[in-house]
């Protein structure tokens, strides 16, 4: 990354929603791309956007934490209502009596989570709590990560408990 360009961008972006994309570098490690131009690590992003730790950019913070913790394995659920609606629609579209098929998971393979309990990313004390959809499975996980100042802890992903499909 170019330090010169970095300095140019820092001040102007602090009060705005960060323009971040997430990808992998040549070594396969997670990285962020600022405004489609600048490669950045998690720490560099926080330096560029210190407001992400203020609590009003929890979604962006969750997305960053999620990517640096699990790469593309999960997608942060930003809109629980939309997720719930899509989830129910997907369940309804799946054949109820179909068997499990390896490599082709369906939501019905796992059951119905308590969709109403899914919340947008938010802090619970020092813990950032967010829900994320498993990209491959489609099911929601509850993720928790402790954020202490500039230190972001190790994220923990736990699948939501499943109830019967109505």
């Amino acid at each position: 990354m170019s330090p010169a360009r970095d300095n140019e961008e820092t001040k102007s972006m602090t009060d705005d929603v960060p323009q971040l994309l997430y990808s992998l570098n040549d070594a396969g490690k997670p990285i962020a791309i600022i405004e489609r131009r600048i490669e950045a690590s998690q720490a560099e992003v926080l330096i560029r956007y210190p407001g992400m730790l203020d609590g009003h950019l929890t979604l962006e913070l969750a997305k960053m934490v999620n990517h640096f913790a699990r790469k593309f394995q999960y997608e942060v659920i930003a809109d629980p209502a939309a997720f719930a609606e899509a989830y129910r629609a997907q369940i309804a579209s799946e054949e109820p009596e179909a068997n499990f098929q390896q490599g082709n998971p369906r939501l019905r393979d796992f059951g119905m989570p308590d969709l109403d309990s899914i919340q947008p990313p938010q802090f619970d004390g020092k813990e950032l709590v967010f829900y994320a959809k498993s990209v491959n499975l489609g099911v929601p996980y509850r993720a928790e990560v402790e954020i202490d100042g500039q230190t972001i802890g190790k994220a923990k992903y736990v699948p939501m408990q499943m109830g019967p499909i109505p």
Binding site: I33, R37, G111
Partner: protein
């Protein structure tokens, strides 16, 4: 033939012996007694019998020799069985024969090769002379003259009798006789003898010439009569069933053969043919109707008299109004027997060893039957009734000899069983009559007799009741007495009928068993001697059960376990399965069905199953109605679920303690193994598992560990409640921790098998854990039952437990299997993910030219734009594509070995949902995604450069990895990932054999050679001393567990020289099998088995006619297995043509429905391809049929994962009898049936999954 009746004068007897001896060898006994020399000889009776007859005629002998007699020209040869023959015996015998008017030279051949003759003795006057045999020379001369005079008179009489036939041609013969008379009168007996021989020869020549003229007239007449039958014959051929037509052709052919030889027989055959045509034409529909006869009518057409060879249990019956074709004389009959049975005929014409009562009885019956035939022939002229009687007697003799021959073939390998067979057959014949051929008609007749006897007995009971109802008094007492006597009489009659029926069924069943069934000498899966003997004994008591038992045992791995219980089962059949205190099951109990189910259980479980069953029955536990209930029609999964739950409840007491030794637990295990209601729908593989698990939990250490796991299960989480609710039968919210514990124990009682969808790599791991470390399995079950989540052991995040499987399947086992498979699909190490990671890496890096070489076009602020652009492209493509498994798409070979379809697909989700299944699709999709990632407008120069780069051959070739590209990802398993997910172990595939697909064509490597290489690789790479199950895979086909410690594998490994042992123990025996001509019975049986499979394959029956036609063509002669396979495919040619065309037409229709129209030429090309494939399938069926019928060595190499509670499938290596090559088979247990897996299974590269 020689008469042995002592009333016959000695001269005639000697002359008859000499005459018969010219025709064939005879057994003889020559004795010197006080009465003189006694010679007895017979073609059929043994020399021992001859000795007894001679002794009876002449008293105690001073000299006696026995052996075989032959007459050649003027020499009577006696081959002695003993070496110590007095040297003057030939001379004494010669003198004696001459004294009786039968001058002939005598020579005795000794066992050691020495030879004594009458002349040599003349030169050795000093040799010891046998005491009491001193015939004077004068008497010899007188005797010779008298004998010659007698012979002259005899020949003269023959010449005079021939005059009406020979006319003037007889005159020279009379003149010649006058000259002989003169020589005799002159004492020139030797010259007279030679002259008389010439006269006799001339007489025979003249008679033959005259007879030819007579025969020609008769032949012409018979041919005319035959021609007259042609219209009827044509009618039969055109309208009757094929079996009837075949029979008509057989009779016609027989007539033509006899017409050139025995005109008398030809006449008889013509009568039969006329009668047959008359009968069959009467059955035919009216003219013009081409309806064929029914199979039953066809079968009827196969039952015509069949004489000397009639030893088959399903042979003919004799019609009272059709005379059978019988030989001219008893001797001719025996000649035919000799011709039919060859050397064995001579064997049954000797006396049995005195210490073998069974053999003595067998041979005695044959001797007696021969005598009976002689008696019948001697009774007088042969009319139709007597011809029938003789025909029946011949059939009985044929039956006796055939049976004896079959048993004799078994003698060498199973001597004890052979003795039991002889005793059984003698016993059957004691009830039925010697040599009775059991036919359906006979069985029906006996059944009718039994019914009549039963009715009579019931009537007697009625009479008794009526008598007892009479007023008291003498009349009543008399009536009661009479009725009781009637009951006794009718009861005895009924018992006699039952004995007869048992004997008939026993003989029928045992005959089939020793002829072409599991007890035959060449049975495909021979029993040991004791086992066979025990089965034979059962035929004498419960023949139908015995038949069922040997059929089950013939493919079972534990035939001895079945046989050992046959005595007990026969006892229980007799007492109605009574308990030790006499209690029996309620009315309606099906004894036979229960016994057969116990037999199946013993065959599956082995060991002491039958003894334990006997104890179970004696205890009365079998009287407990339906102890483990399941719904009517429950499938195997449901049965397993109900039974595992039952066992789970039985091995945990009220306090929650695991104890497999309580009476309750033991009774439960008894019910599982032996209850009539349970084993009516058996679950043998589950039973085996439960027995093993009870042994495991019976170990105190295991019990303690299991108890800890069980006690540690807390209240189930909602996901666990959901997972368990269906199996427990409660709403999810009501599922408790006790329910979770019960389910964990139930899962411990359930064997692991691969589910109905492909997940072989996961199943193999779960199955291995279950077998090798059941306590670890219990831990995982407990974890699932409490959390409702599956926790991978490789550090990946848990996933919600998969629960989408049928309700009857075990929730914990199946969820563990499917959940593990789901995690494996997510792993970075997954081969598909590796493939895509490689592809994306190459896809991005190789765009450096069109993208990175022109940084000024990007102009976003610096030289590192290409680096960022790569990340943008990566972000876009990774977010836009995903790998999914499409179970509906075909892959070759199949992805998991048991599924017929299923491949991994690259799916695009942004900006459209689309399956990427072609290179063109991939190029288009990637181009669009790259341009989007870079924000490049399509059509720009840069966009065109990018498009051209992506479409270039070099760019696309770089995306391949492991033979696969993103648009062609194939199927296959990931056993190494399974180790990581299930065991937390880092494992890697270690090659056992490399991929050889297609080597046949390139290098001529055969399937058999590859099979040898593979087996050697398995034996050397997976050494002994390791675990019983070792994960292996044949790449792209299946993942499963090798069984390196199977006894058959160890036998090949022990002592080294594995390749040599493979050749000696498997390859060379296979080659020998393939090179050996099959018996007719065996070839027919293999074809029968093949067509059973083919009909099963053609389950809709749409080509039944073609199959029937193919089967009726038969093996086509004595052939070795490879030729039989060729024959089978050949006779199925029309079937294959029809099937291929029908399937090709179906393909055309489907294609047309999908919008693609094909020409007839394309259809025919498709049909040719399909035909080749179907033909290959039929070859496999033929091999499967052959391996069932031919004893073949095999070695068990692996457990397949496949199966359910009722059975499992193993992989074995065994020679293909049809080719002799060592190939790979699947073997189903408990049935034992084997199916060739195909060359691809051994050609694929094989790997062992080894922990790093």
């Amino acid at each position: 033939m020689a008469k042995t009746d002592t009333a016959i004068d000695p001269a005639s007897e000697i002359q008859q012996i000499i005459k018969d001896g010219r025709k064939r060898p005879m057994n003889f006994a020559l004795l010197k007694t006080k009465e003189g020399v006694i010679l007895k000889a017979h073609a059929l009776k043994s020399s021992d019998v001859m000795f007894r007859e001679a002794k009876q005629a002449g008293g105690q002998p001073a000299i006696a020799i026995t052996g075989v007699l032959n007459v050649t020209g003027k020499l009577l040869s006696l081959t002695s069985l003993a070496e110590d023959v007095p040297r003057n015996l030939p001379k004494l015998a010669k003198k004696y024969f001459a004294s009786l008017g039968a001058p002939i030279k005598v020579q005795v051949t000794l066992p050691g090769g020495g030879c004594l003759d009458d002349e040599a003795e003349d030169e050795m006057e000093t040799e010891t002379v046998a005491p009491g045999i001193e015939a004077p020379v004068e008497a010899e001369d007188d005797g010779a003259r008298a004998a010659m005079a007698a012979r002259l008179a005899d020949v003269k009489r023959h010449v005079e009798e021939a005059v009406p036939v020979l006319g003037d041609n007889a005159a020279p013969l009379s003149d010649a006789l006058d000259a002989v008379r003169k020589l005799v009168d002159d004492g020139k007996t030797d010259e007279a003898e030679s002259a008389l021989d010439e006269v006799e020869e001339a007489l025979q020549t003249a008679l033959d010439a005259a007879k030819t003229g007579v025969d020609d007239g008769l032949r012409t007449q018979l041919q005319t009569e035959f021609d007259a039958l042609q219209s009827g014959l044509d009618r039969v051929r055109s309208a009757a069933g094929e079996a009837v037509v075949r029979k008509a052709d057989q009779i016609s052919s027989m007539f033509q053969t006899e017409l050139e030889g025995n005109l008398k027989k030809a006449s008889g055959v013509l009568s039969v043919l006329a009668k047959f045509i008359s009968t069959e034409t009467a059955r035919l529909p009216s003219a013009g109707d081409d309806v064929k006869s029914t199979p039953e009518e066809d079968a009827a057409g196969q039952s015509l008299p069949n004489g000397a060879s009639g030893g088959d249990a399903v042979s003919s019956s004799l019609s009272p109004d059709v005379a059978p074709v019988i030989p001219d004389s008893s001797q001719a009959c025996f000649d035919e027997m000799s011709s039919t049975f060859g050397d064995f005929w001579d064997q049954v014409c000797v006396a049995a060893p005195r210490d073998d009562a069974a053999l003595e009885a067998e041979l005695g019956a044959i001797t007696n039957q021969r005598a009976e035939i002689e008696r019948l022939f001697a009774e007088g002229p042969i009319d139709v009734p007597r011809a029938i009687a003789i025909g029946q007697a011949i059939m009985r003799l044929g039956n006796l000899v055939t049976t004896a021959k079959k048993i004799n073939e078994i003698q060498a390998s199973n001597p004890e069983a052979a003795t039991h067979m002889r005793e059984a057959m003698t016993g059957f014949d004691a009830e039925l009559g010697p040599g009775t051929v059991v036919t359906p008609e006979l069985l029906a007749q006996i059944e009718a007799e039994r019914q009549a006897a039963l009715t009579a007995q019931q009537q007697a009971e009625v009479h008794l009741a009526a008598a007892e109802a009479m007023p008291a008094g003498r009349a009543r007492e008399a009536a009661i007495t009479a009725a009781q006597e009637e009951i006794e009489t009718t009861g005895a009659a009924l018992e006699a009928c039952k004995r007869k029926q048992t004997a008939a069924k026993g003989k029928e069943g045992l005959t089939v068993a020793i002829t072409s069934g599991p007890l035959a000498a060449d049975a495909g899966h021979p029993f040991d001697d004791l086992t066979a003997a025990q089965f034979v004994d059962a035929f004498r008591r419960e023949p139908e059960l015995a038949t069922s038992a040997i059929e089950t045992a013939s493919t079972s791995q534990h035939p001895e376990a079945i046989a050992s219980g046959m005595g007990m089962l026969c006892d229980r059949m007799e007492d109605g399965f009574a308990t030790s205190d006499g209690r029996t099951p309620p009315a309606g109990f099906d004894k036979g069905a229960y016994a057969r189910n116990l037999i199946a259980g013993a065959g599956a479980e082995g060991g002491d199953y039958m003894a334990d069953a006997g104890d179970y029955i004696a205890s009365g536990a079998h009287l407990t109605p339906d102890p483990i209930p399941s719904p009517p029609g429950a499938n195997t999964d449901r049965l397993a679920r109900d039974r595992s739950n039952y066992m789970a409840l039985s091995v945990v007491d009220a306090a929650g303690q695991i104890d497999v030794d309580t009476p309750n637990a033991k009774t439960a295990l008894g019910h599982l193994r032996f209850s009539p209601d349970v084993i009516d729908t058996p679950t043998p593989d589950m039973n085996q598992h439960v027995i093993g698990m009870c042994e495991t939990l019976g170990d105190p250490n295991n019990q303690q560990e299991a108890q800890g796991i069980l006690d540690g299960i807390g209240p189930p989480e909602p996901g666990a409640q959901t997972l368990l609710s269906r199996a427990i039968g409660k709403p999810p919210g009501d599922v408790t921790e006790d329910d979770a514990r019960q389910q964990v124990m139930a899962s411990m009682m359930t064997p692991v098998h691969q589910g109905p969808v492909g997940s072989c790599f996961a199943t193999a791991g779960v199955r291995r854990m279950n077998e090798l470390d059941p306590m670890e399995s219990m831990e995982r079950y407990a974890e699932l039952a409490e959390t409702g989540q599956f926790q991978p052991r490789n550090g990946m995040d848990a996933i919600p437990a998969v629960m989408s499987f049928p309700a009857d399947q075990d929730p914990l086992i199946r969820s563990m299997e499917y959940s593990a498979a789901t995690v494996m699909a997510e792993m970075d190490e997954n081969s598909r993910n590796q493939l895509m990671n490689h592809a994306w890496g190459e896809a991005v890096d190789n765009l450096a030219g069109p993208v990175g070489d022109l940084p000024e076009w990007l102009s976003r602020g610096g030289a590192d734009n290409w680096k960022v652009d790569k990340m943008l492209i990566r972000q876009t493509v990774v977010s836009s594509f995903r790998i999914e498994y499409d179970a509906t798409r075909s892959t070759t070979p199949s992805a998991d070995g048991s599924s017929s379809a299923g491949v991994y697909m690259l799916m695009q989700f942004q900006p459209v949902n689309k399956a990427i299944d072609s290179e063109a699709d991939f190029v288009a999709a990637l181009t669009e995604r790259v341009l989007t990632a870079l924000g490049e407008r399509p059509g720009s120069d840069k966009a065109n450069d990018i498009s051209a780069a992506i479409a270039s051959r070099s760019y696309l070739d770089a995306l391949f990895k492991g033979g696969h590209a993103p648009w062609d990802m194939g199927g296959g398993g990931q056993p190494a990932e399974a180790d990581a997910v299930l065991f937390g172990q880092e494992a890697a595939n270690t090659e056992i054999t490399d991929n050889r697909t297609g080597w046949d064509t390139l290098f001529g490597q055969t399937e058999g050679a590859r099979g040898e290489e593979l087996l050697a690789g398995l034996l050397t790479q997976i050494g002994e001393g390791g675990p019983d199950l070792v994960p292996v895979m044949n790449n792209g086909i299946h993942a499963f567990n090798a069984l390196p410690n199977d006894p058959s594998m160890q036998a090949l490994r022990d002592g080294g020289d594995i390749p040599g042992k493979i050749r000696r123990q498997l390859v060379e025996p296979g080659q020998q099998i393939a090179a050996t001509t099959l018996t007719d019975e065996k070839a027919i049986e293999i074809m029968r088995e093949f067509f059973i499979s083919l009909r099963h394959w053609d389950s809709a029956g749409s080509r039944a006619g073609l199959i029937n036609t193919a089967e009726q063509q038969g093996p086509g002669g004595a052939v070795a297995p490879p030729a039989l396979k060729t024959r089978i495919i050949s006779v199925c040619s029309a079937y294959l043509d029809a099937l291929a065309l029908q399937q090709a037409n179906l393909w055309v229709s489907n294609e047309a429905a999908a919008g693609t129209v094909h020409t007839n030429a394309e259809r025919d090309t498709k049909a040719a391809t399909l035909r080749s494939s179907f033909s290959k399938a039929l070859e496999g069926m033929a091999s499967a049929a052959a391996v069932r019928e031919i004893a073949t060595p095999s070695v068990t190499i692996a457990d397949s994962n496949w199966g359910d509670a009722a059975g499992k499938t193993l992989f074995v290596m065994a020679p293909d009898p049809m080719s002799g090559q060592l190939i790979m088979w699947s073997q189903s247990l408990p049935s034992g049936s084997m199916t060739p897996l195909g060359e691809k299974w051994v050609d694929a590269g094989w790997s062992e999954v080894r922990v790093k």
